[in-house]
């Protein structure tokens, strides 16, 4: 119970708050001290399993500088129950019939957002991918190609630029209908386009196995010791003359490290193959290439010389 000064009683009196009318009423004389108080608690509660069309949110999306009008315009939606009322159902149709310069952009952003969601990427990367797509779309030279490949390539480039590379196979897994080859070609095309346009090179840098190590190790539930050892091993392996893709080397190093650990949690070749996207045969071959140099790359604090003898000779 709060106390406020009542002008009628001229003293501090106990005050009652009436929620239904929003009045603050003096309990002694009944004078309404404050009316129309605004309730600032939440209007409704949102649950995860509720359907989308009963969403009472009145706020639209945030301002998007990439769209021509900022994405702030209002769209007339289809009326509920679809009455035969001519005006309300036609207005929506007429608005959509007019050419919308952003239609392809909006579709692209939607697809890129869905792909980024599936990969679990941070919004920074998604926004960067959107920007790249907008730059590419302005140049109008990608109309002919497979659009899914273009969206995938934009996402791939964005990941690389933010130093959080994703393998082409991972990106391929979240697209619907773009092969690794198409994505690769699209990516080369876009990079060339943008370098010519902006005049400065895209800061992407070559991929290293190290960039993928943390992610692969986490997916495979490796211990922190193993993760650290694997990262160090991969760094050392780059000096060796192993002519394999960095991803294959990463997979082989993970396999080697897991073989050296205690028997309980030896990771199967199949699991490594699923986590990295590298075929089992390729991991075995890369392991064969890596085996002679095991002592050079595995750090001393992780495994001693005699432990290395336990490594299965491929």
């Amino acid at each position: 119970m709060t106390e406020m000064h009542c002008p009628e009683c001229k003293t501090q009196t106990e005050v009652v708050f009436d929620h239904s009318a929003g009045d603050t009423v003096c309990s002694e004389c009944g004078l309404v001290l404050e009316a129309h108080s605004i309730d600032e608690t939440s209007e409704w509660r949102t649950f995860a399993n509720e359907s989308g069309d009963t969403d009472p949110v009145r706020v639209g999306a945030a301002y998007n500088p990439l769209l021509s009008d900022g994405g702030l315009s209002t769209v007339i939606s289809k009326p509920n129950g679809a009455q035969g009322d001519f005006l309300s159902s036609s207005l929506g149709r007429w608005q959509n019939r007019g050419s919308n310069p952003d239609r392809s952009l909006i579709q692209a952003f939607g697809t890129i957002a869905a792909m980024a969601e599936r990969l679990g990427l941070v919004p920074t990367i998604k926004d960067l991918a959107n920007e790249i797509y907008k730059k590419v779309e302005d140049l109008k030279s990608v109309k002919g190609r497979n659009q899914d490949a273009i969206y995938a390539a934009c996402l791939y480039i964005a990941c690389r630029q933010e130093q959080m590379p994703r393998t082409v196979k991972e990106i391929c897994s979240v697209t619907n209908g773009a092969s690794k080859k198409e994505i690769g070609r699209a990516k080369e095309h876009i990079v060339k386009l943008l370098e010519v346009e902006t005049g400065k090179s895209m800061e992407m840098g070559t991929i290293h196995a190290g960039g993928f190590m943390r992610r692969f190790c986490s997916t495979l539930n490796m211990t922190n010791q193993e993760k650290k050892a694997a990262s160090e091993a991969v760094v050392k392996s780059e000096e060796l003359d192993i002519r394999r893709s960095p991803i294959s080397i990463a997979a082989a190093v993970i396999y080697m490290i897991s073989q050296l650990s205690t028997d309980a949690n030896k990771i199967q070749l199949k699991d490594i193959s699923n986590a990295t996207g590298v075929a089992e045969g390729t991991i075995r071959n890369a392991y064969k290439d890596l085996y002679p140099h095991a002592s050079k790359i595995i750090p001393d604090w992780f495994a001693k010389e005699d432990d290395l003898k336990n490594l299965s000779n491929p």
Partner: protein
């Protein structure tokens, strides 16, 4: 090497002081274009010649092959012809003449016009492994290296303007030259670059990255994990 009247330009392209002895690119393929100057009936050619194939739905040209020199020609209905597969410029011209002879014998009024070599592909082996990643890093404007997509580094040389595929084994492919001299010049230009990024080379003062140890090249942690 045949010396043309363009000898002055050749001297500017080729750095003779560096020419490694006995190591020069071998020409693997020569592609030439030719104008036969007469409209051709591809269906008739395919039917009459034993060594010709023509699938109009697949590709709009007749594909003819001869055994000596071992070459393939794409013959188009407009009278243009592309001759590929020859191992030298001379062979390419000889093969082109043989193809025109075949068509002449069939009764077409062909002429041997505008023979021009469009592409010469050469390969070479420098016999030492190469650190492609470092090469890509320091020649960023010219190189493209995507180990996920293709194991070779694609080097687009500006002068002479052609493409060199560089592999980690030390084998290289030089493509895009219109004259043999350009291929040799490109090789002369790229050899010192390859030698600089040789794997297992001791660190010299030429390398801009300073290493802690002198004997083994250990790229510092910073370089490996954070590309520029």
């Amino acid at each position: 090497m045949t010396m043309d009247c363009n000898i002055v330009e050749e001297e500017q392209l080729v750095d003779h002081s560096w020419r490694p002895l006995g190591l020069e690119p071998t020409i693997q393929n020569v592609v030439a274009l030719l104008n036969l100057d007469c409209k051709l009936d591809l269906k008739a050619i395919a039917l009459r010649a034993r060594n010709a194939e023509y699938n109009s739905k697949h590709f709009a040209a007749c594909i003819m092959r001869i055994r000596e020199p071992k070459t393939t020609a794409l013959i188009f209905a407009s009278g243009k012809m592309v001759c590929t597969g020859a191992k030298s410029e001379g062979d390419s011209k000889v093969a082109a003449r043989k193809f025109t002879r075949i068509l002449q014998k069939m009764g077409f009024p062909v002429h041997f016009k505008d023979f021009k070599i469009q592409n010469i592909v050469g390969s070479c082996d420098v016999k030492f492994p190469i650190k492609l990643e470092r090469l890509c890093h320091f020649h960023d404007g010219f190189s493209r290296y995507e180990p996920e997509l293709f194991p070779g580094l694609i080097y687009r040389m500006a002068q002479p303007k052609l493409v060199i595929l560089i592999f980690a084994s030390g084998k290289i492919v030089i493509s895009g030259a219109k004259r043999r001299e350009e291929t040799y010049a490109a090789f002369d230009n790229i050899y010192p670059v390859l030698a600089e990024y040789r794997r297992g080379k001791k660190v010299t003062s030429l390398n801009p990255i300073q290493f802690k140890s002198e004997s083994n090249e250990v790229p510092p942690q910073g370089y490996v994990s954070s590309p520029h």
